[in-house]
């Protein structure tokens, strides 16, 4: 075991795939950020709201007013620098920090694929992605290597495979497989798609999409891993992501996943891609084919091994933390985020907050639109940690307005995957008596239904 592990760690491979990955990732990120800006989302999501929902422990991360644009500029430039392979390490660190900062500013906007970008960017900091076909390697031949340790490319494959596989595992539940929920809600609503609209009304199509989606997610890492199924796997990747792009508003994510899965292909393909780029931009590619191999010193190797082991151990275990909580995961959402539960449920809610004077019993309702954007209100109404934070915010706000002995109650209803809405938070409980924590949230009312599965 030890021997084979150290043997594996000594294996090297061509650096070209990692270089292509770096270039495409950097470009994709640059485009994503420019698109985000052009859509007016910086203003809409980070400047106009009066209040922002924080992640536990990251309450200090907030939008910086007009300087928020600066974070996006820094992030976009860092992405470009990554693509160019110019001052790569610094660029990768800057990108990771700025991108992650943006994501932490308001958890209303949480998306699994943003989280994926963050941890991928984190991983990239430690990979020698600038060893080949980069400005760094061109300017400094000591940094240029044609061959790099094999684990550096494999780690990307592992991360991608993990995301897919866990997304597939998450789909093994009775709502998804036996009721075709929530696709049974989402697909018929796409009735106006040319050619597809009618088909999407058919019940068997809902089941087909549910099952094939689950099988796709579970199988794709293996299909891409084996040479003989790789091309077929890639065709599926393209088909799958193009389909999701047509059906759902998921922005750049499909393209990012398609491009990322190229990492599974052999160096030959990547040399061809780089050859084309060289021809277009007049780059002397053969200068990078220097036959040099990047070999880490023994201590470096040990540190890296320890680091990657820890990183992937966390990635492997973290999505299972929901098992430590009582109650239905989809209902409580305790352990739902950061677990590759992608487009897994349709959840909607309505929360009416009541500010009560504990002494006199006088009360009034809160108009959420006075404080939250429709998007924030929508997210808040289905997630208990949002409601706790909002309750505290309301208490502070009304205290400043001169109200006293404030207690905050909420009358909330949540509908999950087409079930009838039922009361969500215990309306008798003063939310101010509870702190957000990783402890199970006792003020949640039980879920009246069963969802079996992982």
């Amino acid at each position: 075991m030890r021997v084979s592990l150290s043997k594996y760690l000594n294996k090297t491979t061509e650096a070209a795939p990692l270089a292509v990955f770096r270039i495409l990732f950097g470009l994709m990120m640059f485009i994503s950020i420019v698109r985000f800006w052009l859509n007016g989302w910086i203003e809409k999501l980070y400047l106009s709201p009066k209040f922002f929902f924080s992640y536990y422990g990251f309450e200090w991360v907030k939008p910086l007013g007009d300087f928020t644009y600066l974070i996006f500029i820094v992030c976009a430039l860092a992405a470009l620098f990554i693509a160019l392979g110019y001052r790569y390490r610094l660029a990768a660190i800057t990108f990771f920090l700025s991108f992650t900062y943006i994501e932490l500013m308001d958890k209303t906007t949480y998306l699994n694929h943003y989280y994926f970008i963050s941890i991928l960017a984190f991983l990239l900091i430690f990979l020698p992605a600038n060893a080949y076909f980069s400005i760094d390697a061109r300017k400094n031949s000591r940094l240029a290597f044609q061959e790099i340790p094999r684990w550096s490319i494999d780690s990307l494959k592992l991360l991608l495979g993990l995301v897919y596989f866990y997304a597939g595992l998450a789909k093994i539940n009775s709502d998804w497989l036996l009721k075709a929920m929530p696709l049974k809600i989402w697909l018929p609503a796409k009735y106006d798609l040319p050619g597809l609209g009618g088909l999407l009304q058919q019940e068997w199509v809902h089941y087909f999409f549910s099952w094939s989606g689950m099988l796709y997610d579970l199988a794709i890492p293996f299909l891409l891993l084996y040479r003989r199924t790789r091309l077929f796997g890639f065709v599926l990747v393209v088909l799958f992501h193009v389909t999701t792009r047509i059906l759902f508003p998921i922005g750049m994510f499909p393209y990012i996943m398609i491009v990322s899965s190229l990492i599974f292909f052999s160096p030959q393909l990547h040399h061809r891609i780089l050859g084309i780029l060289s021809a277009i931009f007049g780059i002397a590619k053969d200068k990078f084919d220097n036959g040099r191999t990047l070999i880490y010193r023994s201590l470096q190797k040990k540190l890296i091994l320890a680091f990657f082991t820890l990183f992937f151990l966390i990635q492997l275990l973290f999505p299972w933390r929901y098992l430590l909580y009582p109650g239905e995961l989809f209902w409580t959402e305790e352990g739902f985020r950061f677990s590759w539960r992608v487009m897994l449920m349709e959840k909607a809610g309505y929360a009416q907050f009541k500010i009560v004077n504990g002494n006199t019993g006088r009360w009034f309702y809160v108009r959420n639109s006075d404080f939250l954007t429709p998007f924030q209100e929508k997210q808040m109404a289905t997630q208990p940690d949002f409601m706790l934070e909002y309750a505290r915010f309301l208490a502070d706000h009304f205290e400043k307005d001169g109200h006293e002995d404030i207690e905050v109650y909420v009358d909330s209803h949540v509908a999950l995957n087409g079930r009838r809405s039922t009361p969500y938070i215990n309306p008798e409980i003063n939310l101010l008596d509870h702190q957000d924590s990783f402890e199970p949230k006792t003020f949640l009312l039980p879920f009246h239904g069963t969802i079996k599965g992982l």
Binding site: K184, I185, W186, P188, A189, K190, Y191, D192, L193, G197, G198, Q201, Q202, E203, W204, Y207, F208, W211, S212, L215, A219, F222, L223, Y226, R228, T229, F232, E346, A348, G349, Y350, Q352, R362, W363, F364, Y365, V366, R367, N368, S369, T373, P374, K378, D411, H413, V414, A415, G418, R419, R420, S421
Partner: protein, 369 residues
């Protein structure tokens, strides 16, 4: 190659297994949204405006007659026309769709009326009812004030139009308000009758710019903001803690407020059920849409629940004073009770119905008018 084959086999096998035990009763054809939009336009919205325009015409006529010869008799006639058209307005207040209808609700029914502004504008004789800043100085709430709220007794009110130094301007302002209600209503009806009907019905897109999507957001917003909050919640002080009688709709007109509430409630429920205007016939609307989707999902009878709630709300309203000003002053708990019942359907419409229809909420909920 083995995994590939396995994958194919699995998907094909699944494909076959689930098509084969599909029984025919559950294979439903697509719901015809074009037909639903046509039903909304042709059998509900346009007939409602056609009916309403008769009332606003009469309102303008009666106003002109009163302005020509103000007397207790002509005042009574005008008041009668006002009350009837205010009630009929509740059958169209829900339909703020299309360019002609933009701000229609703001111009016709922003309350509370700004009493001071109306008074000072009449004093100076300088006003422009087309300005957005004048929402609270016109429409039915302004008539409410001008016909009932100027003084305690009818004789005193009449003096404003006869012996008051500004009597001519009072008569003019009153006429302008009625005329504007009539003109705006004619514009909206004309727009529907000319081109907008076809645009509306043809836009069956599933996107957020599709007619179903836009209208449904409006529908839920109207119910939540204008009916629940505007007519009941705000006067009852649900958002402030204390009853606010001056925010009752038609607060000067005595026992009109409950009639307005009931008519608006009936309009919303009838629309939900696809009931043709002033008829017992039903066409396609949310009820039928939800029932259709329910066949697909085998879920709960949502449309039944919504209707049961509406019936309960109406039943509860029979305990309410015809005059909501009296109600909030004498026994506000009944108003809050009405609010809670109305709230139940906010949840069903905004959460359950929108989820079933897969329509996302995009409106910004604003203050009730």
């Amino acid at each position: 190659m083995r995994s590939l084959k396995l994958f194919f086999l699995l998907s094909v096998g699944f494909f076959i297994s689930c098509t084969s035990d599909d029984d025919d009763s559950r294979r439903v054809d697509s719901f015809d949204r074009g037909a639903m939009l046509a039903n909304w336009a042709d059998n509900i919205i346009i007939p409602s405006f056609e009916n309403f325009v008769g009332f606003t015409n009469n309102l303008e006529d009666k106003t002109r007659e009163f302005a020509a010869s103000p007397s207790e008799a002509s005042l009574e006639e005008l008041r009668d026309a006002y009350r009837k058209s205010y009630i009929e307005y509740q059958t169209v207040g829900l339909y703020e769709v299309g360019t002609a209808a933009m701000y229609y609700r703001n111009f016709l029914n922003t309350y509370p009326v700004n009493v001071d502004a109306v008074g000072s504008k009449i004093e100076t004789g300088d006003y422009n009812l087309e300005l957005p800043s004048s929402y609270a100085e016109q429409g039915f709430p302004a008539l409410d004030f001008l016909l009932y709220g100027l003084a305690e007794t009818d004789a005193e009110i009449l003096e404003f139009y006869t012996s008051d130094p500004n009597a001519a301007t009072y008569r003019q302002y009153l006429t302008d308000v009625s005329e504007r209600i009539n003109v705006l209503t004619k514009n909206v009806l004309a727009d529907w009758q000319n081109s907008f009907r076809d645009t509306f019905v043809a836009n069956t897109s599933a996107s957020t710019t599709g007619s179903v999507n836009i209208f449904t957001n409006d529908f839920v917003m109207y119910y939540e903001t204008f009916l629940r909050s505007g007519k009941i919640g705000i006067p009852a002080g649900a958002f402030t803690g204390d009853p606010v009688p001056q925010n009752v709709e038609a607060r000067f007109s005595g026992d009109l407020s409950k009639s307005l509430y009931l008519k608006a409630l009936e309009t919303v429920q009838d629309f939900f059920n696809g009931s043709h205007f002033n008829s017992n016939e039903q066409g396609l609307s949310y009820k039928q849409y939800l029932d259709h989707l329910n066949i697909v999902k085998a879920g709960e009878d949502l449309s039944g629940l919504v209707n049961t709630n509406f019936d309960q709300i109406r039943q509860q309203a029979s305990n309410l004073d015809p005059n909501f000003v009296a109600q909030v002053q004498n026994d506000n708990s009944k108003m809050l009770n009405a609010f809670d019942l109305l709230q139940k359907n906010v949840v069903l419409l905004k959460v359950d119905m929108l989820q079933a229809l897969s329509i996302s909420v995009d409106y910004v909920d604003s203050d009730g008018d």
